[in-house]
């Protein structure tokens, strides 16, 4: 379970360039819920995810995983609970290391680096078995350098890596945005499988209204650092992409202009 209580994040505090990125987020996500997060550019979606992951320090408020207050915990201290997949396919893996070395790093996530061998045959079997799920033939390329793989392949491996350790929370930051439609569909498919298998608590940021409604059981929309609506249950089931677009338009007339029209086309 993730709870955010009155979460504030301010960048460049006290400087002329001060920016209020999050302005009082109150959000409780029960164990096993899949939440999709939408909002215009600069609304604070990625900031929210990065704050929950611990990359960004909150200026005010609290974050709890279950009953445990993790507000002060650095990112590395939260990795036992959190797995992440980034938007940039190159960001989630090391191009200089081999496929198996990358997976070994994820396999050891949340543990201390020890002076025992980083790879063994037991791990390799697990990796092979996991990679074969992708049907990309990567199970035979354990010793290939990650940098030689395509963006889609790398993103697929990052996704598998996020599921190698028993974490309870999965944070997906537009993880299909940089991929071609076919690969994006494949990745989304495997994402759903992994989430179902492990009963993860998931937050997925997306710019695609379709994706936001098709996946998960709840959708929240951020605007200027606040949650402006929170959809779930039957109300959400009745929603269409055009309804979401209307809500965006509303946000635009209520507040200032949305910065980017592209997102309105992102259906």
């Amino acid at each position: 379970m993730i709870s955010c209580k009155d979460l504030h994040v301010t960048f460049n505090r006290g400087l002329p360039t001060e920016k209020l990125a999050l302005r009082g987020i109150d959000l409780t996500i029960p164990q096993g819920e899949f939440v999709t997060v939408i909002g215009s550019n600069g609304a604070g979606k990625s900031t929210l995810l990065n704050t929950i992951a611990g990359d960004i320090k909150s200026t005010k408020g609290q974050i709890l995983f279950g009953d445990r207050d993790v507000t002060k915990l650095p990112a590395t201290g939260r990795t036992a609970d959190i797995a992440r997949v980034f938007q940039d396919p190159l960001a989630g893996t090391c191009g200089d290391l081999t496929v198996e070395e990358n997976m070994a790093l994820a396999y050891g996530r949340g543990q201390r680096g020890r002076l025992s061998s980083a790879l063994n045959s037991k791990m390799r079997n697990v990796f092979r078995e996991q990679l074969s799920r992708l049907n990309l033939g990567l199970e035979n390329r354990l010793e290939s350098e990650m940098g030689l793989l395509s963006g889609g392949q790398r993103q697929s491996v990052s996704l598998l890596m996020s599921a190698l350790q028993p974490s309870t929370i999965l944070l997906l930051d537009e993880h299909t945005a940089a991929l071609d439609p076919k690969t994006a569909a494949l990745i989304m498919d495997i994402t759903s499988q992994i989430i179902a298998e492990k009963q993860l608590t998931v937050m997925m940021v997306t710019h695609s209204m379709r994706q936001a409604l098709d996946h998960g059981s709840r959708t929240i929309m951020l605007h200027e650092g606040k949650i402006i609506f929170d959809l779930s249950g039957e109300e959400r089931a009745g929603y269409e992409v055009k309804d979401l677009l209307n809500l965006f338009a509303q946000a635009r007339t209520d507040g200032e202009e949305l910065d980017d029209d592209k997102l309105l086309l992102g259906a």
């Binding site: 992951a53 990359d55 990112a75 590395t76 990795t79 036992a80 992440r84 980034f86 190159l90 960001a91 989630g92 893996t93 090391c94 191009g95 200089d96 290391l97 081999t98 070395e101 070994a104 790093l105 994820a106 050891g108 996530r109 949340g110 543990q111 680096g113 020890r114 002076l115 025992s116 061998s117 980083a118 790879l119 010793e143 350098e145 890596m161």
Partner: protein
């Protein structure tokens, strides 16, 4: 080249093999260009030589020199990690400071060890070997053991985490790796190896001098590049040992250039020869790739 000067070249090449491994750790593994080594090589030599003259056990003195150099690496890492000083600049600052510190450690510009016991003394006359062979074998054993330990280390969980930090910090962090800790450890290890090389150099050559470290980084880098362009491999053992081979080959090349009478070089031309050799080693892989691409294009046509 006489046998005597060949063995001398081999000896220095092997000692600088440790420097090359240290430079490989920072430049290639951590992606942290570290010029501290110019100072830490001398620091290792200065601390060891001074302690030996004071009558300290040679092994303890060598260990002390190694640790002192490792601490110099920690200072550079601290300047970079704590205060966000650019890595290159942080290492130049430490290197500059070390120049004074080395003079203070020695109390004078150089310390002679000719009449003192050294780390080689216990091995004199072992198996009835003449000294000039024993010295080469001793430094070869030191370099190879050092190389094997580093290669083994890089294959452990901790070592793999360090390689991830150099390759992709964000990914490393997302996988629970404490990035700063790995950078500290890497710089300490790298400079420790360089300091050990300095300590061995001082003892095999019979002196420590405040200027002996100048250009260490270039020599180390040359060895890494030569080694890697000759032995392209993904195996950590091959990569690390190729640093040592690269260092020996580099020394032999320099020595041959200086010894070839028809070229007319003298010892004072060393730096130009070094720079040209390093430049050639850097240019070679690029030209080779371009040539291969051209060949492939011709074959298609």
């Amino acid at each position: 080249m006489s046998l005597f000067s060949f063995l001398g070249t081999l000896e220095i090449g092997l000692i600088y093999g440790l420097v090359a491994i240290g430079v490989y750790l920072t430049f290639r593994i951590l992606d942290f260009p570290d010029l501290t080594v110019d100072g830490s090589f001398t620091l290792g030599a200065a601390v060891t030589a001074t302690l030996i003259v004071m009558g300290v056990n040679v092994f303890l003195a060598t260990l002390a020199g190694t640790i002192a150099a490792a601490c110099a690496g920690l200072v550079t890492a601290w300047l970079n990690l704590r205060f966000d000083i650019l890595h290159l600049l942080a290492s130049i600052l430490t290197m500059t400071a070390l120049y004074t510190i080395n003079l203070r450690v020695m109390g004078k510009p150089n310390v002679a060890l000719i009449m003192e016991p050294t780390i080689l003394t216990p091995f004199e006359g072992i198996f009835g070997l003449p000294d000039m062979y024993m010295r080469v074998i001793f430094v070869a054993v030191c370099a190879v053991i050092g190389g094997l330990l580093v290669a083994w280390f890089l294959k452990t969980q901790y070592g793999l985490a360090m390689r991830a930090v150099g390759s992709n910090k964000r990914m490393a962090q997302a996988n629970g790796i404490v990035v700063k800790q790995k950078v500290y450890a890497g710089l300490a290890l790298s400079n420790g190896l360089v300091g050990l090389a300095g300590a061995l150099f001082a003892q095999t050559n019979g002196f420590a001098d405040s200027t002996m470290g100048i250009g260490t980084i270039v020599v180390g880098l040359a060895a890494v590049i030569i080694g890697q362009s000759l032995f392209a491999s993904r195996s950590m053992y091959v990569i690390v040992l190729s640093c040592i081979v690269g260092s020996v080959l580099y020394r032999l090349a320099v020595s041959m250039a200086l010894n070839a009478d028809f070229l007319g070089f003298s010892a004072s031309d060393l730096n130009l020869i070094t720079a040209v050799l390093v430049a050639l080693a850097l240019i070679f892989p690029k030209l080779r790739n371009e040539w291969k691409a051209k060949q492939a294009a011709r074959n298609e046509a």
